[in-house]
């Protein structure tokens, strides 16, 4: 019988099944922690103009890719050997989907690191970094909260993340307008501003992936697919 430390995937008759599911969950969270750190480090490297850190981030992306493949294999093995059903099945399916979101967040971090390297070599005054910092705080918080919602099976928190996505889009558009102004002021800013624009775009995508994670958490918990569903409809499914 479950004690307080066990979670809702931990009370099968088969202990091995419990362990398999809990390993899958923990490994997913490890990968999530890694890509979250990668994103934060990449933005820091950009703002600090730290080319060395940027190199390290790009190298560490290999680890992200490796974890993606390992998690996929773990999930495949679980389906083949355990034939999970209901909430167990939803966990496995959701992890398979969320793993590709995490891998893409890792790619976005790598992309930001690449721009960090280029911009650090040019070594000019940072333009648009205020916006980058602002959006990056926002999207990494979303990512962190999405992983947290996954860990706690908290569909209410997941819904909050879905709502945040719209705000990120607005911030992204505002930042784009600011950068356009810089470019119009002085055409020598253009190449540099374009690079920052790409970074903003990457961060905006991280927000989208966090939102996908949140949708999958709702699917895991509530059993309803809320992709391509207006947030208000999803809110009805999650309940008060």
């Amino acid at each position: 019988m479950p004690n307080k430390k066990d979670d809702m995937y931990g009370d099968h008759i088969s202990h091995q099944f419990n362990e398999d599911l809990s390993n899958l969950k923990n490994d997913f969270l490890k990968m999530g922690g890694l890509v979250e750190q990668q994103t934060i480090d990449a933005v820091n490297a950009l703002i600090d103009g730290d080319g060395h850190a940027a190199d390290e981030i790009r190298a560490r992306d290999k680890l992200v890719d490796k974890m993606e493949m390992e998690l996929d294999e773990e999930a495949t093995r679980l389906i083949a050997r355990r034939q999970p059903a209901a909430r167990d099945l939803r966990l496995v399916i959701a992890v398979i989907k969320m793993v590709s979101d995490l891998e893409r967040v890792g790619d976005e971090a790598k992309k930001i690191a690449k721009f960090a390297l280029t911009l650090s070599q040019e070594g000019q005054a940072p333009r648009g970094y205020v916006e980058v910092r602002h959006i990056s705080t926002h999207v990494t918080t979303m990512l962190h909260d999405a992983l947290d919602a996954f860990s706690r099976l908290d569909s209410v928190q997941a819904l909050k993340i879905m709502r945040e996505d719209k705000r990120v889009d607005e911030e992204y558009q505002a930042a784009t307008r600011t950068l356009l102004t810089f470019m119009m002021e002085d055409s020598r800013n253009i190449s540099r501003c374009m690079a920052v624009m790409w970074v903003l775009r990457a961060l905006e995508r991280v927000g989208d992936h966090a939102c996908n994670l949140a949708e999958n958490v709702i699917y895991m918990v509530e059993g309803e697919d809320v992709r391509h569903t207006p947030v208000e409809e999803a809110a009805k499914i999650v309940g008060p």
Binding site: I13, S14, I40, R133
Partner: protein, 295 residues
């Protein structure tokens, strides 16, 4: 630069210290409300209409106020832990429980709007309409041909030998057995493999042109290949028959049935279409059972 750093570099640790919600533990009995079934137990076009069915062995209730429709030409699977009453309930549908002296059945049980338990009802005719296949293959110790021909002959379904031959061939074909036995119809049925014997029993049930076929764990004594053949047969037969199958294999219920009914301690806890039951069941007990948390 430093200020930027501190703002961005918020903790990126794994959220592992957060408390994990634990579903409150309640004894199974408290999760069940008598006579209440979640999901969709009713149908617009019922073959069987069953209302407030209760079954007692002596004084102890085995089935507690179950209401359910079984739709025409559907495959419905009954699942649940041992002793939950699924077989008892199945046996009510063609009055197989009549043979148990201490067994009493209450409630309304209608087959095509006619009362199954009407005193005037001819039970032999009922069992011809509602055939049954059992857990262990039980062919008669006669030839393969005689096993299938026996039913049609006593029910007077064939006047001539050639008609009877046709019925035997058709039934064996429908049961997917014809090609394996057509050259040895006179051989004794007990010499066949377990899977063949079970398909012969299905052919025997089909031979009297039933409307419904009840199957009580039809594959539990069969190997995986024979099981796959019987399951394939169930899928084909669902076009012309209504099939009710009791099974201990949840994967089998998931594979063959359109709807799944979950029984627990004599209650019908949940009936839903099979996809729902195996991906997002409504009732906590169904969830626990199909995910292997008890049973």
């Amino acid at each position: 630069m430093n200020t930027l750093n501190t703002t961005v570099n918020k903790e990126a640790t794994m959220p592992e210290e957060t408390p994990i919600p634990v579903p409150e533990e309640k004894p199974a009995e408290t999760l069940i409300e008598e006579g209440k079934t979640v999901g969709s137990p009713f149908s617009d076009d019922p073959k069987f209409k069953l209302r407030d069915v209760e079954v007692f062995y002596g004084d102890s209730p085995a089935i507690k106020k179950i209401s359910l429709d079984i739709a025409r030409n559907e495959v419905i699977a009954f699942i649940g832990p041992s002793g939950c009453g699924k077989s008892t309930f199945l046996r009510c549908l063609n009055r197989m429980n009549d043979s148990i002296d201490i067994c009493r059945v209450k409630g309304e049980l209608l087959l095509d709007d006619e009362n199954i338990y009407d005193n005037k009802r001819d039970v032999v005719e009922l069992r011809a309409r509602v055939g049954m296949v059992f857990q262990k293959p039980n062919p008669f110790p006669k030839s393969i041909y005689e096993n299938v021909a026996y039913g049609p002959r006593i029910h007077g379904l064939a006047n001539r030998k050639s008609d009877l031959d046709d019925i035997v061939e058709n039934s064996l074909r429908k049961a997917g057995l014809w090609n394996e036995v057509k050259d040895r119809l006179d051989a004794t049925a007990t010499g066949m493999s377990g899977g063949q014997q079970q398909r012969l029993c299905i052919a025997r049930a089909i031979a009297v042109s039933p409307e419904v076929i009840l199957m009580d764990e039809p594959c539990s004594a069969l190997d995986p290949i024979a099981t796959a053949k019987v399951e394939e047969l169930i899928a084909e037969m669902s076009e012309s028959y209504t099939i009710v199958i009791v099974t201990h294999s949840m994967q089998q219920a998931a594979r063959v049935s359109h709807r799944t009914a979950y029984f627990h301690l004599g209650h019908l806890v949940e009936v839903n279409d099979t996809n729902t039951v195996f991906t997002a069941p409504e009732h906590e007990l169904t969830e626990s059972y199909i995910t292997g948390r008890f049973g």
